[in-house]
Every structure is written in structure tokens, then in C-alpha cells.
Amino acid sequence: MNRWAALLAAGAVASASASTSGAAGPVPVGSPAVAGYQPVGVDEQGLWGEMAEAERALKVSKLLVRDEELTSYLRKVLCRVASADACQTVRILIVRDPQFNAGMTPNGMLLINSGLLLRVRSEAELAAILGHELSHFERRHSLARLKAARSATGWAAFLGAAGAGPLGLALIGNFFSFSQEQEREADLDGLKGMRAAGYRSRSAGDIWANLRAEMDATAAARNVRSRKDKRGMFDTHPATAERLAYLRSSTVDDPEGEAGEAAFRAAISPLWPMLIDDQVKLNDFGGSEYLLAGLATSGWTGPLLYARGELYRYRGQAGDFEKAAGFYREAIAKPDAPAGAWRGLGLALARTGDGAAAKASIDEYLKRNPQASDKAMLAMISGGSQ
């Protein structure tokens, strides 16, 4: 799951032939996820030093989601699947990025994209991801990748690392992907942690089933072929289908376990408006529809109906404004309707040519949100709609 699961030194994008430097010296053993751990050997020390610098910059990044309550919730879940030591040493940072992704640096900094939090549906799924990332750290997968990269065989795999990382880390280091074997190993470690904590281990597979269905939905709305089984030339991750298959088969005999859907929703829902907004603005109609439907499994709320209205209004194809107006109206009928629903309704109606109704709705919005940053523009649209 981590395109950028680890980071390396600048310029580290290709490799050939065995290296001499860094190959000698002591080999680290045991888990690095213990308090006061000091990296061992040239390679590990190098990675940790580089990452400590990166972490300095990342911690003050403007693109982090700084939400103490949510972060401590993530930590709580991590600590259920991790050893007491790992629970204490791993740092969790939430990155504002609408794509599904998470990553672990070689020195124990766990990065979670906001887009992942939008897609995960239960605490058990979250536990699977956190346990998986922790495994990359505890098993020193990036160190192994660095060594592999310096050998001829690691060449192509390492090239897969090229590409921008989040948050300026691309300037500090390059991200690279783990091998298929490492991903699988981390997946299975994740399952172990889930079982020990009493989580529903089958949820690990659900993540991938969901992601595949979302990719289908995205593709269907765009009238293109789904990317769910597409693997890039340099992509070393197990294909989602393969991943889903082994996660399903390894958990088929497990007891049901705790899914923790309600707990997860309670922790994430304060962030939903931002997460949903970031998603809906990606011009991914099918994927967004799929995600909204997933969030609405226990009922369409005002904010969800509002988001759906926005989605249709943004697309603006034949019939979309009428449908959008319908969703806004449903939202307005709910007690938790956001003020934006009146704005959206007004703008949708203005596009359908229903000027009087558009004016009424925009005026209502401006009454509810007199400080709206676009009030002058809306007032003019409202006036012109009479």
C-alpha cells in the first residue's frame, strides 16, 4: 500500500553491481521499535540520520492534519496491535492528501494520508494498515531495499521509487516501494497483530475488495478500463487481486472478531467534511459516488447528501443539476444540513433556469452565512436570477 513507504537519500534512483561501502560492519538484529534504540551499522545509521532531518521539516509542514484527538485515536489502535515498545516509539503523522496511501520511514515515522482515512471503514481495517506499516519498520524492510537497490537485481525495482513524494520530502529523499515479498510479509504480520488484539482479521481483505470496487466505479463513470488489475512496469506491489486472495485465504478460519465500525466512525467523522470535500473536488465522479455510498451505509446524513449534490453539480452533465437539486433538498430536510446545501441548491437551480427558486435558496444561504466569502458574487447571481 505504500508507494512511498520509505525514504532514501537524494539521488537514489538507480543501482547496479554490488557496493562496498555500507556492506561491512555489524548487522542490526531484533526490533528497532524499542525505546532508546540506536541504529546499527553504516546503512541503518545513514537512513536514520537522513530521516531525522526529514522529520524535522515534516513536523512543521503546512500539509499535515494536526488533530490531537484523532492522532491519539490512531495511536490507541496502533498500540492494540503493537508491542508496548513499538507503541511508544512510533510517531504518527496525518498527511493531507486525498489519495489512498500510508507509509513508514526506516526510523519509525508512520505517515497516514487523509484519503486513507476516508476509505477505511472500520477500526479493524485501520488496525490492519497500522500493523502492516509497523511490520515494515520492525523488519527493517527499507534497509533491505537499500541493500537490494545497490545490487544489480534491485535496479528496476528501485526505479519505481522515482516520483514526487509528499510534503517536500521528495526534495529530501526519494520514496521507494517495498518488494512483493515484503508487502506480503507485512500483510501477514498485520493479521497476526489483529488476531492477538481480537480484531476481525477478515477486515484486512475488505480494504482491498473495497479499493478494487472503487477503481471499478471510477473507471465505469469515465468509460475507461478499470485499473484494479493494472500493475505499472516498475510496480513491485502484489496486485490487489493477489493480495485480496491471500488475505482472504489466511483468515477464512479465523473467529469473527471485533470490527469496531462505530468506534472508527466516531473518531473520524469530525474530519469528514474536509476529507469528503477534498475527494469530491478530484473530478472522480464514480469513485466519489462509491465512497459516499459507503459512508451512507447507515443512512444518508445532511452532510453526505450535500456532498452528493456538490458532486453532481460539479459534473454538470445533462440532468445532473436536477439530480443535484434533489440531493440538496433532501439534505435541507435533515436536521444536520450544512448551510452550503442552500448555496448549492440555489446554484443548481440557476443552471436549470428556475430563477425564482434559485434566488430564494441563495438568499436563504446568505441569511444563514452572512460572512460568506463569495456573498457579493452570490448576491449578483441571485439578483440576475429574478
Binding site: G46, E50, R150
Partner: protein, 238 residues
């Protein structure tokens, strides 16, 4: 990426600028961006913590000893927290943007803006004065170095590359590691960039005390001197 025939100037000083004389001048150094690693045959850079730590210390010591431009004192910015850390981060990003702009669109003739043929009007803006207050300095110095020393495999590949270049016209592109750096000086009252110097092929082994001293002298090439002597600080050996 160098375009043959299109010259690159390495340094520039704001016209008319000289370091003030007759009063003590403090230069505030922002945490230098220092990277040292080894480079394998294929180009993979392995960061090296010990080399980086040594280089960081050696470069800092050499900067203090150098007293650029006749500065009375060279001090380092303390670690900041909270809003101040964010502010410094923002100015660091802006400096990178300004430095990039100067290198790409002012010093590099191939992509120079016609309005930037003469003069040197670049600034971080007067808001940077806050950093001067926080760190206590008249001028702010940003320093970036990036070194990767070729291991034996890399060196073998270099020779191979040279041979191939002769035979095919390709190859010869295997550089001898990475030894790049740049530095820029900011007037912490106005925010103006008064000097910038960059070089992709620097000398001086930053892992060693003497080497770091040589590197610092190269980083500080064409550093503006004081008016009294009009003397450029430090030698210009390459």
C-alpha cells in the same frame, strides 16, 4: 542537464552592496542542509550518518572561523518551536524558491529572463526581520551541501563510462559522485538577497576538517567584502 555552450555564472552580489564596516556585524546561520553519502555504481546514494555528522560539525566550525565578509561573529539559529518553527520553515522554502530562481533565470544564460540581465533584485521581503530578531543577527546565511562519494563500484563504472563514450558517443555521463552546494546571504532588515553562490562541482572533502575548510572557502566565493578594503573574503581557488 547542462546545455553545452550556454554559460552558467556561479555567483552574484547585489550591485552596490558591501558589508558594513566600522560596527560589529553578526551573521546568523540557519541550520545548514548537509547531506553526505556514498554512491554505488548504479547511482544509489546511501546516506552516511557519521560522515554527515562530521561534515555538519566541520562546516560549522569552518564557517565560524571564516568570519565571512569580515563579520565580527557567526552564530547559529537555535531550534525553534511552534509558530516560529513554521515561520522559519516558510522562509526556508521561500529562500529555496528564490535561490532556484536566481540560478535558473538570472545566472544561467540559457534560461535568463530578459529583465534580469543586469541587477540583482531578489528578496525574501522585510518580514524576514522576525528571524533576525529570533536568532540575533544582521545577516542571515543559508547553506546547502550535498555530497556523495563514489564507492569502488562507482569508480569502475566511471572508467567504463569513459571508455564507452569513446566507442559509442554515449556513456561518459557517470559523474564522480555528487559534490554540490550553494549558499546565500540575506539582509535581515530588508530581506534582500545580497549574495548567492552555487557550484555543482565543489572541492574539499567535507568529512575532513581541512576539506571542510576548503569547501567553505568555495561556498563563500565572491562573498561581498567590506567597503574599506573592497577585498573579497577568501581565495578563489577551484
Amino acid at each position: 542537464m547542462a546545455v553545452p555552450g550556454l554559460a552558467q555564472e556561479k555567483a552574484a552580489v547585489k550591485p552596490g552592496f558591501s558589508m558594513p564596516t566600522g560596527k560589529p556585524v553578526r551573521i546568523l546561520v540557519f541550520r545548514p542542509d548537509v547531506k553526505v553519502g556514498s554512491q554505488s555504481a548504479g547511482g544509489v546514494v546511501t546516506p552516511n550518518a557519521e560522515w554527515t555528522a562530521n561534515a555538519r560539525k566541520n562546516l560549522a566550525d569552518a564557517l565560524v572561523a571564516a568570519k565571512p565578509g569580515g563579520a565580527s561573529e557567526v552564530v547559529f539559529m537555535t531550534d525553534l518551536e511552534g509558530e516560529n518553527a513554521t515561520l522559519l520553515n516558510e522562509y526556508r522554502s521561500l529562500f529555496k524558491g528564490v535561490a532556484t530562481t536566481v540560478l535558473q533565470h538570472r545566472l544561467f544564460k540559457g534560461d535568463r529572463l530578459p529583465t534580469k540581465v543586469t541587477g540583482f533584485e531578489y528578496t525574501l521581503g522585510p518580514g524576514v526581520a522576525k528571524l533576525g530578531e529570533l536568532g540575533g543577527g544582521d545577516y542571515g546565511l543559508f547553506v546547502v551541501t550535498n555530497d556523495a562519494y563514489g564507492d569502488s563500484g562507482r569508480k569502475a563504472l566511471q572508467i567504463f563510462g569513459l571508455l564507452m563514450a569513446g566507442a559509442t558517443g554515449f556513456g561518459g555521463m557517470v559523474s564522480s559522485g555528487v559534490h554540490a552546494g550553494y549558499a546565500g546571504l540575506i539582509d535581515l532588515k530588508t530581506g534582500d538577497l545580497v549574495w548567492l553562490n552555487a557550484d555543482l562541482k565543489m572541492g574539499g572533502d567535507v568529512r575532513e576538517i581541512d576539506g571542510a575548510s576548503k569547501r567553505v572557502s568555495q561556498l563563500l566565493e565572491e562573498f561581498p567584502g567590506g567597503t574599506s578594503g573592497g577585498v573579497h573574503f577568501l581565495p578563489t581557488t577551484k
